[in-house]
């Protein structure tokens, strides 16, 4: 039995479950927070989505078949939660996801949990102008520094396609920043 299989067994066993889940929580909360925050941008929303993500992970552990790695399964849940949160929020406000994102970026300056300057805001705006998939790839590669192989497992896209996506994203961002 591999180390990961053993850990999953501990997560499923009611006796060791709490301890194992705490271990999972400590290992994943920071990277997942960053991953979600890069998508939803605002701290309070990230807090909600992060909670929902861990609760979903906990509830669906029994259904985890081990077909993919625990790491990519958890990241996939977090990504889906964050994206569906955004589209729900946009729907509630009666605006498109794109304009919601731009509005959130405009509000970043007054966000107490954002200490970036104009360059950073410009970068976030440039990212927001990209198609959704390219945004995800860029954020995961540039900010989170995940490997292409890892991103490939999370998003279910080939490494080659991801490299192309990232390359396009970088080019578009550079053009956006010069033009602005």
């Amino acid at each position: 039995m591999s180390e990961e299989e053993e850990f999953i067994q501990q997560l499923l066993n009611p006796k060791t479950q709490n301890e194992a889940f705490q271990k999972l929580l400590l290992a994943y909360q920071k990277p997942l927070y960053n991953h979600i925050r890069n998508i939803v941008l605002n701290h309070d929303d990230t807090d909600d989505v992060l909670q929902n993500t861990f609760i979903k992970v906990f509830q669906h552990l029994k259904k985890f078949k081990g077909e993919s790695k625990l790491f990519s399964w958890i990241y996939r849940i977090a990504t889906n939660e964050a994206l569906s949160f955004l589209s729900q929020k946009a729907k509630k406000n009666g605006i498109s996801s794109e304009s919601l994102q731009n509005k959130t970026i405009d509000n970043l300056k007054s966000d107490p949990y954002f200490d970036g300057d104009d360059v950073q805001i410009k970068l976030h705006k440039a990212i927001a102008a990209l198609p959704e998939k390219q945004q995800l790839v860029f954020k995961m590669k540039y900010f989170e520094e995940l490997k292409y192989e890892e991103i490939s497992e999370i998003l279910g896209t080939s490494v080659g396609a991801l490299k192309a996506s990232y390359h396009h994203a970088v080019k578009k961002i550079e053009v956006f920043i010069i033009a602005d």
């Binding site: 909360q29 890069n38 807090d47 909670q51 609760i55 970043l108 550079e174 920043i177």
Partner: protein, 136 residues
Amino acid sequence: MKEFKLENKPKIESGFKTPEHYFENFSEKLMQNLPANEPKIISIFQRRKKSLMIAAAILIMALMVPILYNTTANKELDEATLENYLSYQTNMTQFDLINVLESEDIDNINTTIALEDKTIEDMMATNPDLELLLNE
């Protein structure tokens, strides 16, 4: 136009921060919330309870069908059927009927009918019970 190369520049951080002690508090809060979200026994029980209630409702309705059917059938019984039943299906004899009748009823029956002597004679000849009735 100045050149801008993302890869050549020192990395631009996302600029996102978290409140102080956020992660310590987060894991604590989440672990406390977990057991409340976990017991699925309740949800399964509730689901069972619901299906049991549906089954009970269907059973009650099924049981009510024959009752409803019977009551409507009773209402449909008309006088002719009742009369036929009394004349052919019961052991009730004319004597029983006479015993049941009150004197008032007999007075009501007692109306003068214009009959020819011959008709009376014929009736007396053909009805064997008449003699008994006269004796009463």
